[in-house]
Amino acid sequence: MAPRVGVVVFPGTNCEFDVIEAVNALGGTGVTLWHGDRALGDIDAVVVPGGFAHGDYLRPGAIARFSPIMAAVADFAASGGPVVGICNGFQVLTEAGLLPGALQKNRGLKFLCRMTELDVVATETALTTGVASGTRLRIPINHFEGNYTCSAETLAALIAEDRIVFRYVDNPNGSMNDIAGICNEQRNVVGLMPHPERASSALLGSTDGALLLRSLLSVAGRANRERLAVGA
């Protein structure tokens, strides 16, 4: 059975169908999850996609983290389920406390919409299982608040525990330590500012994002088989 990827939709989310299209093209089954629901249903992975959840009012992710679905996402993550936050989804996961740190306005105050180059740093995460460390990827960004920041202690822990998943080759936004994406201690929750779903087809100018989504589907597939085994 194809792994099922739940894609969370808040009012103002706008990348959910891009993610579902990319997941389906790679052999998964993408389904939307409404933010007002309290349960995820039969899901093997969760993606919190990009957009402007709740208008980004107060701070990006500040209101979305209180949506009913987020408690279920937190439980799913705590049970080891793969959870990926892309762009605004990364902001939501930091506000929800599922990932450390925060995303500030870009250095230079410009909204950045362009292709970037990233290096894969940490492997064996929900997005980089089977992807070699040092792999260089071309994946676009599209954000105003992607400037990652955290305390010195958190940064030291991220480095020591090999939890910086991606670094920009040429830092576009002032992000601390060139961080483009990080993971939690268990490595099943990953947040990143670049959009893998927008680099998942040759028509889009790069297929490098498909590498990452394939990793997510393989991790989700494992979860899927375990779920079916438990159910059987």
Binding site: L109, N147, T149
Partner: protein, 89 residues
Amino acid sequence: MLFEVHVEVRLRAGIADPQGATIERSLPALGFEGVSGVRVGKSIRFLVESADEASARAEVDVMCTRFLTNPVIEDSVVDIAVASVGAAV
């Protein structure tokens, strides 16, 4: 009792402030020399009904920690005063 609350949300000391830096760089171009330390924050005002000032302050402090600020990068300064007559909305 009704209290008027003013919450000033500020970036913590040491956290880079891209908006403040941009404003600071712009001021000399307009002829304002000698300005430094520009920091941009948010100002949030509201009314709260509470038994007394201490309980109002306690409630606002929780609001700040859970919602109005992101404690990773922001802190807050809270002013509370008994609402003046006619402040109710």
